[in-house]
């Protein structure tokens, strides 16, 4: 069974050169830093009992970490560069998808909340 899944079947493998590896390596580093930062922020949000933010940041952080690890494997291994790159893009794409869906929900709720707070503040100041 191909450990890389459905990618890289029956085709020559492309090897990224040193310059391309440097670009990928930088992306891997920052994807992992962002993943760790998100996980830390998620854990910190537990202090405020914000379970939704915790779960969201944790899941997205894990996907970013996974994407970063796959990008690192593009640089550190040979023979499966395109497959590792596809794995990385898949994980990062899933992280973006989760963010997009949750952000749309959160933005709608936040707009309602901010409008209410501002109305209350203006009503309070006019007394």
């Amino acid at each position: 069974m191909n450990p890389m899944g459905p990618y890289n079947q029956g085709s020559y493998e492309y090897e990224f050169d040193a310059q391309q590896n440097a670009t990928i390596s930088s992306a891997a580093l920052w994807a992992r830093v962002l993943g760790v930062t998100l996980i830390v922020a998620g854990v910190a949000s537990l202090v405020n009992c914000n379970v939704i933010s915790f779960v969201l940041d944790l899941v997205i952080g894990i996907y970013f970490l996974g994407g970063g690890s796959s990008l690192s494997m593009v640089v550190n291994t040979q023979g499966n560069d395109v497959a590792h790159m596809m794995q990385a893009l898949g994980k990062l794409g899933t992280a973006f998808k989760i963010r997009v869906i949750f952000t749309i929900v959160v933005v709608v709720l936040m707009c309602i909340f901010v409008a209410l707070v501002m109305l209350l503040a203006i009503a309070g100041s006019s007394r």
Binding site: P6, Y7, G10, S11, Y12, E13, Y14, E15, F16, Q20, T23, I24, S26, A27, W30, A31, V33, L34, T37, L38, V40, A41, A44, F64, L71, V82, M85, M86, L89, G90, L92, G93, F96, K97, R99, V100, T103, I104, V107, V114, A121, G124, S125, R127
Partner: protein, 158 residues
Amino acid sequence: MQPMGYAPPAAMATSYEFNELENRTISSTARYARIWGVISLIAGVLLLGMGILMTVVFAAMGAAATASGSTGAFKPAMIAALGAALIPSSIVSIIGGIFYWIAGSSLQRVVDTQGNDIALLMQGVKSLSRAFMIEAIAMMVSFVAGLGIGLAAQLGGH
């Protein structure tokens, strides 16, 4: 023309055409990266507008309240400060959004064009890297700032 998913042997490999399955993965990531970019951009612009509005309106209200000598529970200066704090994070959101959008566009061009897949992929990866860097640094700064403000508020309360 070389078939999709084919690359010449490594010794002479200069280009690579992604196959249909790979293109689907890239396309999906490109779509959501662009949507996320647009969301960040719109959120940044809205936050910037709100931050400026809050700063100007509530600073004026605070000045008027000070001039008239009224002291209520409502503190316009605090809301003005909150508005001012929104401005840097909104700028970060706008810049990050632009990079996500550029990354998504480059990745989409990998799918839509032929003959330059690897170069376009590298452009996309480079833009993603910059977006990740901006977001990670902004998150760390706001996390530390939030921690500092929280601690200051705690200490100020005692």
